[in-house]
Amino acid sequence: MSTTAVKPRAGDPEITPALIKEHGITPTEYERVVAMLGRDPTFTEIGIVSALWSEHCSYKHSRPLLRTLPTEAPWVLQGPGENAGVIAVKDGIAVAFKVESHNHPSAVEPYQGAATGVGGILRDVFTMGARPIALLNSLRFGPLTSSRVRYLFAGVVKGIGDYGNCVGVPTVGGEVVFDPSYEGNPLVNAMCVGVLREEELIRAVAEGVGNPIIAVGARTGRDGIHGASFASEDPSEATEAKRPRVQVGDPFTEKLLLEASLELIRSGHIVAIQDMGAAGLTSSSAEMAARGDVGVTIDTTKVPVRETGMTPYEILLSESQERMLVVAHKGREEQVREILARWDLEAAVIGEVIAEPVYRVTEGDTVVAEFPGTRLVTDCPVYTIDAVESTALAAARGRDPHAVTPLEEEADPIWTLERLLSSPTIASKAWVWRQYDSMVRTSTIVGPGSDAAVVRLRGTDAGVALSIDGNGRYVALDPRMGGRIAVCEAARNVACSGARPRAITNNLNFGNPTRPEVYFQLSNAVAGMGEACRVLETPVTGGNVSLYNENPQGAIHPTPTIGMVGVLDTLDHVTPSAFRAAGDTIVLFGDNTDELGASEYLLRVHELTIGAPPACDPAGERRLIDALLDAIAAGHVRSAHDCSDGGLAVTLAECAMMRRDEPLGFQVDLTDWADLPVRALLFGEAQGRIVTTTSSPDALLEIAAKHGVPAKVIGRVVRADEGIEFVIGAVSARSAIDPLARAFHDTIPAIMDGGTAADPAAMVSASFPD
């Protein structure tokens, strides 16, 4: 094949082994490039390859694993491979959704890192033609005792809030976990859900020779150059020197871009649209071309820039935010420009779709990069690593939690309960979500603080239930079981709100995959997720992979986060988690077991991450969900809350005082399980359990029996002034509500704003920028 002459560009650095290494390209990968080109690459080409073959863009260590996940169901309209997945809901209405990580940028600059993470995921959703209707986020930090962690936590929360609030998309849910394993490497995963009519779905596939390629939105600056390869490196080594790479978000421009993009898509003037996310112009143009199997040419001198003297390399790799790449129908350039001008945005034709099968970049008339066909995307390397389990983690799993001597104070289970309720991981996150506008768009039926958020879909009587979940501790101690639990817990949350779980998006946050013990975690966790998804019929419609999450102590807990979308055919079925009224009967679905391993109890009370996580049987979870949804549909369930971190005692306490203004009490009798160790019964995290309340217990038990799900009446809801009470045979424990409510509600505010103890760093990030 003949290629145009591509010569080194005057002023560009010379290609040396050091430069190649600096770009994260291995010697074998370099040979692959030379073979593909039939010559040595130019500096610009090195930049392009380094971005597109980075883990972030190429999934070179995860693709074979991801292929094992189920992706199909009759309601799936768009599976993995696009900017977001899409499922049909009802009456021609569909939802698009996706999760994305911004872990490394947030470690360096928590406010901007988190804010631009939200910006990116919003764009992934609205480029599908969907209007964003909800945001969620999943966060992991080290312990709040560190001032750096408080700084990161405050900054991330403010960044997420400021961005979503300004764009006008409600943040309706999320989770925050504090664990020493995330010290120095926080996780910031953001999820967005959008709504569209099925016929409005648009894909990012470049088509039509002669069609113009248009850059839209913000101008290109020198920010974030090499963000994609940055996200694919171990931050503990590289971060300090790379600070200038942070990007600044502009949610105001994003809001304009959102409105303009939806208008463009509805106008029929365009063929495809994609956000310029990681690796900017390069990845968006190469990916759109590859999906359409067409050639493209791009002239970097036509790209609107913010700074003078930018080189093609910089323009191609810039990660300036709030930009989109559009392929328009030929001859409609003016109409496209007009729509953008209405929103005070710029549009510039920067290239076109061509017949010749090449990916070509020019600087004026000079070709500065050229790759044959779409091989840049399709020929990227794929690695499979020999998986070996870490002996340390296997040993930790093998330790017997019963051998852990209880503290003296634990003689009173109420002491332990209070200790757990004041664990920042369990305590109320109202301090966080009060900073998020959770109500804009007036469709939030259930906002933050419940098992799953419920958002109505205007134009139908249906709603979606949304939850994001993951437990790194379980995955660390048993990746396969942990992978299953992550999916099942997300499904249970969604079901508790009255919705049928329908599909997931996921974010795989792991360590360096070239290490066999990390690859072991990755491959087994994905296997576990797949098992659960198949049984629950919740296919994977997309997601994101964030590897190289390490700190000087080693890899983080392997943390797959699962964004689950469920559907409520009617809003009559919306079910709260909190108890409703004194006198209601409490029915436990599922069974209590002697499983204390990997629990929050062991971490919080004994500072131990040991033992096997609880067993998770997806088939049993499926029956549990079916039974619960039947009972809800029959109108027998007044509240439902699943058991997770902290076990049964914490779940009951949360049901009682989650609504701080209107708390209730409870009296439960667990004598049927009196042969279990008390701490396993109260604080073990056995899976497959849901605490429900009802005024028709017999009907509920009957439905459970029909599905083969164990269920028992365990007590009743009482007035708040009657407090809480557990009876287990001869043992009983009682408490007033107030001390427990204070532990639950006041812990995080006390740490974050507590008078003079307020952390200066946290304060500064909380008050700036304005």
Binding site: K158, Q435, I445
Partner: protein, 234 residues
């Protein structure tokens, strides 16, 4: 009755206002684009919430120069009603339609939650369907809601009954804890001297249906409809 909802770049409660008016009040609503000079014959103008111009510089500072604001000011000067909610309140203050200013919440954080308001005056066209001292639940969602004015202005507002809503606790008491942003004298909403421009930080358009948490904002819209109907009748 026709309601004109102004759309600034960055408005994001415009659709919520639209749904409140059309779906819950049953009136007609149109959007008015900030670059136009046309209120399309609206009887009532709503300046909606959001982040016009990203709240850059100061909330409302840039939006008040939008072309449409000349028409809004003229509409207000004719004595026709303007409902300015949240960012709309900030814009109205910047434009001089209402006295005072809305500054950064004292705790320096954005706050979104249901709050309790006490209705201080029902002698306005916005509040005739409430009763004096009534405690209602309406959400707030803002980062800059601390109402601030000089002493004379405050005295005048109080003296002339132009403080319409105050932040209170569930029992109707004015307390420090009930004030989500440290606004002066717990002020949540005021009217201008002529009584036809209401500015408030809480969002009545988000309180139109118990399904989304509260319907306590609906009487405000009904009061406005009553007053407009009375004008036509007169």
């Amino acid at each position: 009755m026709k309601v004109g909802i102004i759309r600034f770049p960055g408005s994001n409660c415009d659709e919520d206002a639209y749904h409140a008016v059309v779906d819950h009040l049953g009136a007609e609503a149109v959007y008015c684009w900030h670059k136009d000079h046309d209120l399309q014959g609206a009887d009532l103008v709503i300046l909606p919430g959001g982040f016009s111009y990203g709240d850059y510089l100061r909330p409302g500072a840039i939006a008040r120069f939008s072309p449409i604001m000349q028409e809004v000011v003229a509409h207000a000067q004719r004595g026709a009603p303007v409902l300015a909610i949240c960012n709309g309140f900030q814009i109205a203050c910047e434009a001089g339609l209402l006295p005072g200013a809305l500054l950064r919440n004292a705790h320096l954080r954005f706050v979104c939650e249901q709050v309790h308001l006490r209705v201080e005056s029902i002698a306005t066209r916005f509040t005739s369907r409430y009763h004096v001292g009534q405690v209602i639940r309406i959400p707030v969602a803002h980062g800059d809601g601390r109402y601030t004015a000089d002493g004379d202005t405050l005295e005048r507002l109080e003296g002339e009954g132009h403080v319409v809503f105050r932040y209170v606790d569930a029992g109707g008491h004015v307390t420090h804890e009930a004030n989500p942003n440290a606004s002066m004298r717990n002020i949540a909403g005021i009217v201008n001297g002529a009584g036809n421009v209401l500015g408030m930080m809480p969002h009545p358009e988000r309180a139109v249906d118990t399904l989304i948490g509260s319907a306590d904002g609906l009487p405000l819209l009904h009061s406005l409809a009553d007053s407009l109907l009375a004008e036509v009748g007169a």
